[in-house]
Structure formats: structure tokens, C-alpha cells
């Protein structure tokens, strides 16, 4: 997603002279060309995220529209008070970008995993969160963020189960994607599978390789918070029909998007959540290793689908 982000944000930065890019000492093999083009509109703020967010807020108060880039845990937890006080309370157009959402930085260890970034930021006022489902979803998110006059956060990530699967439809504002509907004509769906951001890739993997496409299941990918189910007519209709939701996210459960979706979609007959977990006996490895450790796999998703459908018959 980083490549797609750089491409999309480059276009925004070229088009809007009020925009600027501030990096927390990251961008090797990504920002070099952009930095050379932007001159003073590119700032490497060094390894000082608190200051970086305050500087971005100050620049925004002076009429600029900064994008602030770091890896997701550093762009969020370290400087959450600056994001709250300096950016959100002032409602200024600062766009925070966190690369490596979820377990993307697997072997880098727990300090580099971003499993609570959305939980932390969704609790703040005025900020909108964007979490693209796939690489080809990033550009639309960047363009929507560029048009906002208030704060926004962009979560970039790479799923260990990235799968190519066609999109059936995408809402231009919510960015919610419909990936699959019930196969047999006239056969009503019995379960709605909803993935947040690149977490939906587990479901796409299951559609491609594990036969999920043969089940009476709808699959949607969410990419923006706060949710707007009034606009997401297809998703709303599916949930109203099935009243059963299986939610999947590469994020810690407490405070995650699943909790918020459960609250927004009530009343439901059944709700299951596949999400990241912590374990006292934690071991470290690739993103796929971490996801297997917390049972966040396409196979586990299929098992949950079958359990949900079985419970319905």
C-alpha cells in the first residue's frame, strides 16, 4: 500500500500548494523524489513524533494542509495527546498516515505492531479514519482525505493473505466494498462477513481458495470510520436480511472496529469477531505467523462461517 500511497499523495501535493508532507524520519526508497520536488513543503521532522504533530497543527493553523507520515504505532500512540489537543480539538486539516497497520511489521516485534491504532484514534473527536482494504483502495482514500477540512488518519497495511478478488461495488463516500454476494439466484444470504481494512483479505483468500464463494454469504470490506450505514445500502440490506455477522479485523478486539460495527448494526441474532490477540507466551515471527498464533486465518474464518451457518439450519 505504501507505493500506492506515495503515488496518490504525490498527485495531491503537486496539485495543492497549501499541502505539505512531514515525515518522522521515514521514507527510504519512497519519498526521495517527492522530497526533492517539494522543497520546503517536505520536512523530515526527525525522530520526534510529539513535536511533529504539534508542528503539523501549527502549520495547519497557518493555513497549510499537512500530511504527516510515520509507521503506525509511532504516528499514533507516542503522540496521542498531540493528536487530541493540537489537531483534533482545533479541528485542523492534518492528515496522519501510519504505515504497517496490524501485524505488517511482524518480525520487527510487538513495539512495531499496530493493533490498537484505530481504537485509540476512533475515541477522539473530529477525526475520520481510513483503512483501505487493498492496494487499489488507497488512492480513493487519499483523495477523500485531501478534500476534508478536518483531521484524518490513514492506516496502511499488507495482509499476509493478500488475495486478488474482484470488487463488485464500492461506495464513493464510505469506500465500503462489496466483494461477494450469495451465489444462487434467489437464494437469500444467511451470513454477512464484514472485514475492516486489510483484514478483509482473509475473507478474499477464503473466497478464492476455500470455497467461501459457494456459501450463502455476503462479503463486505469497510474502509472508513465513523461508519455510515445509511449510505451503505447494500451492506445494510444484507445485515437486515441475515442478522448474522462475522467480523474480521487485523486489530485488537477491545476498542476495535468490530465493537463499533456491532453497536451500529443492532439488533443482530449472532455476532462473531475474528481479531488480533495478545498472549503472555507470545512468540515472534512473520505477519502470517502472528496471525496464525491468534487464529486469524482464512481457515479459521471458514470454520466460523460454517459454525454460523450450521447454527442457522
Amino acid at each position: 500500500m505504501r507505493v500506492d500511497f506515495v503515488k496518490a499523495v504525490s498527485a495531491v501535493l503537486r496539485a495543492d500548494q497549501r499541502s505539505m508532507l512531514i515525515s518522522g524520519d521515514l521514507g527510504f526508497m519512497a519519498f526521495e523524489e517527492l522530497a526533492a520536488q517539494l522543497g520546503p513543503r517536505f520536512v523530515n521532522a526527525g525522530i520526534a513524533e510529539q513535536n511533529m504533530m504539534g508542528v503539523a497543527a501549527g502549520a495547519a493553523l497557518a493555513g497549510l494542509r499537512p500530511w504527516v507520515y510515520s509507521i503506525a504505532p509511532f504516528a499514533t500512540y507516542r503522540c496521542v495527546e498531540q493528536i487530541r489537543n493540537d489537531i483534533c480539538l482545533h479541528d485542523v486539516p492534518v492528515r496522519v498516515v501510519g504505515n504497517g497497520g496490524g501485524y505488517t511489521y511482524g518480525m520487527m516485534g510487538s513495539t512495531h505492531h499496530a493493533l490498537e491504532d484505530l481504537a485509540v484514534l476512533k475515541s477522539l473527536p473530529n477525526i475520520e479514519l481510513f483503512f483501505p482494504c487493498a492496494n487499489d483502495h488507497v488512492s480513493a482514500a487519499v483523495q477523500l482525505m485531501a478534500a476534508l477540512d478536518g483531521p484524518a488518519y490513514l492506516r496502511l497495511g499488507i495482509s499476509a493473505f493478500n488475495t486478488d478478488w474482484p470488487v463488485q461495488g464500492e461506495h464513493p463516500e464510505t469506500l465500503t466494498r462489496r466483494y461477494a454476494g450469495s451465489p444462487a439466484a434467489g437464494a437469500a444470504p444467511r451470513l454477512t462477513v464484514v472485514g475492516a481494512g486489510h483484514g478483509v483479505q482473509l475473507a478474499l483468500h477464503a473466497l478464492r481458495h476455500l470455497g467461501l464463494d459457494r456459501e450463502r454469504v455476503d462479503v463486505f470490506g469497510l474502509a472508513r470510520f465513523p461508519f455510515d450505514l445509511a449510505k451503505d445500502a447494500a451492506l445494510r440490506a444484507s445485515v437486515e436480511q441475515t442478522r448474522r455477522v462475522l467480523f474480521v479485523e487485523e486489530h485488537y478486539g477491545p476498542g476495535g472496529m468490530g465493537e463499533s460495527f456491532l453497536a451500529a448494526a443492532q439488533p443482530l441474532a449472532a455476532f462473531r469477531l475474528l481479531c488480533a490477540r495478545y498472549d503472555r507466551e507470545q512468540r515472534y515471527g512473520s505477519p502470517r505467523f502472528h496471525m496464525q498464533q491468534c487464529n486469524l486465518t482464512p481457515e479459521a474464518l471458514m470454520a466460523a462461517v460454517r459454525a454460523s451457518l450450521g447454527g442457522d439450519s
Binding site: A48, Q50, G54, V55, G58, E81, N85
Partner: protein, 272 residues
């Protein structure tokens, strides 16, 4: 630069202290000591130095009441608004609120936030807008415990934010002790100098010294003025007393404080 008259500034400061004591007495609000320590600096900035286009960031947000009193005195806050201080429904809480007043561009109160914001304003004005807008940022000395202050200091020096003036209200007292007993800050001037600032050290109640420091020839560096101040300045029984960071005034204390302000030498250091 407005015409600078030291006797006028001394008189302004006296009247603002009176108004400040009244608002705190009526509101039963604390934070008296730190307001009294920075009023002379605020008077100089708002009475002489700041132009319409310039920014002032009160990084020591707990000095808000002294800023409100100063803005009111200089006509930037209406009587009606000023009267709402500390009342339910006010835009003037004990620490400045976001997006509330044109003269207060940024909400502060959690220490260590103002200087990064000021640095962002200065960077935008110097390099992108390429204008002559200046920003002054007032910090408390205890605030320099915060790491984000030093992150911003590195940033400001690296980017040669010569349009930034940092003033440290160095009254030597913080929340639960003296700055030297809690976490040694000195030598403060050398520290700011080592971080790449042009530095001055002055008596922060002496308008001639404040004025001289602000007029020192600029270079590419941001400027840091260590203003040595007295917490509780002007009210003898509050001066250098930790408890006046917190306590409200009783009626008797309010009377005593007002009388004390009228003593000829109560603001002795304020006279040039």
C-alpha cells in the same frame, strides 16, 4: 513596534494585576502565583511588541487568566466576555480553549504543546508564506521538564526559525517543589544556547530589560529569553510561595493583596 513608554507599561501592569486579583477572587480560582509572575511579560508583548499579524502562544496554559486580563485591558476581549471567566458556559476556562478567541490561536494546558505549535506556525510563515509574521511563545520553567519542549527546540534551531521568540518565565517553582529540587534545569541559558538558540537572560519584571532583549540584533537562530521572575510578583505574601500555585484568595487576603499592590516598591523591579 508600538511606542514604548516604560511608565505606561508599569501602570498597565499594575492595573492588569488589580483586574487579575479581582477575577481570581470573584471566581475563587487558583493559579495566582504563575499569573503574577508572567504579567509583566504579557504586558510588554501585548502592549508593545505584538503586531496584528503576529502570533502569541501561551505554552504555559495555566497562565490563561493573566492572558485574559491582559487581552481585556488592551481591548482584545470585551467586558461581557471577560466577565464570564470561570463561569459555566464561558469561553474562558482556566486553560485556553481551542477555537474560542482570535487572540488565542491554540489551546494549551497540557505542558509541552505550545512550542511545537509555535514552531509549525514559524516554519509555515518563514518558508511557505515567506512573510514577516513573528511568533512569541511563553513557557514556564517547569514546563522544560517535558521532552517535547526539547524536540521543538531542536526543530526550531535546525530550521533556523528566526521568526520565533521563546520566553521562559523562570520563577523557579513548579507543581510540587522548586525547579532545582524537582529536576535540575540549570544552567537553563546554556542549555537553550547549546540547542542552537540565540539567548538572553533578563529580569522578567523590568520593562527596560525585556525591551532591550527583544531588540537585540537578530541572526538566523531562534531567540530564547530566560526571564527571571518571581512567582506571585507584586503580592508580598504570595511571592516565591509554592502554595499560591493552587490556593484561591479569601476576602481578607484579597484586601491585603490590593493594598500591597499600591505600596511604592511593590513592583520595584518593574521600573526601568
Amino acid at each position: 513596534m508600538k511606542q514604548v513608554s516604560y511608565p505606561q507599561l508599569v501602570d498597565d501592569a499594575l492595573q492588569i494585576r488589580r483586574a487579575f486579583l479581582k477575577m481570581h477572587f470573584e471566581a475563587k480560582a487558583g493559579h495566582l502565583g504563575s499569573g503574577l509572575s508572567d504579567i509583566d511579560l504579557l504586558v510588554y508583548l501585548h502592549g508593545a511588541w505584538l503586531r496584528d499579524q503576529d502570533h502569541f502562544i501561551l505554552s504555559k496554559g495555566h497562565g490563561a487568566s493573566s492572558l485574559y486580563a491582559t487581552l481585556h485591558y488592551y481591548g482584545q476581549l470585551s467586558d461581557e466576555q471577560f466577565a464570564t471567566y470561570y463561569q459555566d458556559g464561558t469561553l474562558l476556562p482556566a486553560h485556553p480553549a481551542p477555537r474560542a478567541l482570535p487572540s488565542i490561536p491554540a489551546a494549551t494546558g497540557s505542558l509541552g504543546h505550545g512550542l511545537p505549535i509555535a514552531a509549525g506556525l514559524c516554519y509555515a510563515n518563514k518558508y511557505l508564506h515567506q512573510n514577516d509574521v513573528r511568533t512569541a511563545c511563553l513557557l514556564s520553567d517547569g514546563e522544560c521538564d517535558e521532552g517535547s519542549v526539547w524536540e521543538a527546540a531542536l526543530f526550531a534551531a535546525h530550521h533556523e526559525l528566526s521568526n520565533l521568540t521563546v520566553i521562559i518565565d523562570a520563577n523557579g517553582l513548579q507543581g510540587f517543589g522548586t525547579t532545582e529540587s524537582v529536576m535540575r534545569l540549570e544552567p537553563l541559558r546554556l542549555k537553550w544556547g547549546a540547542f542552537g538558540f540565540r539567548t538572553s537572560e533578563i529580569n522578567g519584571h523590568d520593562f527596560a530589560q525585556i525591551h532591550a532583549a527583544m531588540l537585540e540584533p537578530a541572526d538566523a537562530r531562534p531567540h530564547c529569553i530566560i526571564a527571571r521572575t518571581v512567582k506571585g510578583k507584586g503580592v508580598r505574601f504570595m511571592e516565591n510561595r509554592l502554595e499560591w500555585h493552587y490556593l484561591p484568595l479569601s476576602a481578607a487576603q484579597y484586601e491585603d493583596a490590593l493594598i500591597g499592590l499600591e505600596e511604592p516598591d511593590s513592583l520595584r523591579d518593574s521600573s526601568p
